[in-house]
């Protein structure tokens, strides 16, 4: 009986809960172009720093 009460929801009640469905980005649904750098801006920044840089062997 108590369990039934727990699950009953009164219309227009302030205690009604709204469950927001979080968006889940699944790997299989996302197309990532192969062969093209994803972090192109970062790569450009790094390559710029590497120009004429003195690197350790």
């Amino acid at each position: 009986m108590q369990a039934e009460k727990k699950h009953s929801v009164r219309k227009n009640s302030k205690v009604q809960k709204t469950v927001l469905k979080e968006e889940v980005i699944y790997i299989t649904k996302t197309e990532v172009p192969a062969g093209k750098p994803l972090f192109a801006d970062k790569l450009k920044k790094v390559n710029k720093m590497l120009e004429n840089a003195i690197l350790l062997k």
Partner: protein
């Protein structure tokens, strides 16, 4: 860095993906891209967006930063085990991220330095120069390099 890590999978040889399960689920991607210097790969890390693009400057605030970074370190270790001769460079997309990376390197320096040679990129007399990373130093590092030694 003995924290738990998220399961991840290799998408292509240089790309790894995993899902951050904090307040919400966010797909993360780690990519190693060859730079203009032979054998030097840039590490890119960010959120994968629904259109297939990435965002490496967003602060997801998903409540699982330690686990996410531990996963990235794990991936970095795996990649360098598979490609022991490569050198990795990484920098922050924002000043805050750069500070965060430096803090991680400083905190785990003793552990990391047994496995990796760690250096940093500094600007000296208007020239970029690679220098030994000194965790206690006040030197401003613009990027970091790591190379597997064992």
């Amino acid at each position: 860095m003995k924290h738990s890590v998220y399961p991840y999978r290799k998408n292509v040889d240089t790309r790894y993906v995993f899902i951050s399960k904090g307040k919400r689920d966010i797909e993360k991607i780690v990519e190693f891209t060859p730079t203009s210097v032979e054998g030097l790969y840039n590490l890119g890390f960010g959120d994968l967006l629904p259109d297939g693009s990435v965002d490496d400057s967003v602060n997801s605030n998903n409540g699982d930063i330690i686990k996410v970074l531990a996963t990235v370190v794990h991936i970095l270790k795996e990649f360098t085990q598979l490609h022991p001769n490569v050198k990795i460079v990484f920098t922050g997309s924002t000043p805050e991220r750069l500070i965060l990376y430096r803090r991680i390197l400083k905190t785990y320096y003793i552990e990391f330095s047994t496995e990796f040679n760690i250096t940093g990129f500094i600007l000296e007399n208007s020239h970029y120069k690679e220098a030994i990373f000194e965790p206690q130093s006040e030197t401003e590092y613009l990027a970091f390099f790591i190379r597997r030694i064992i």
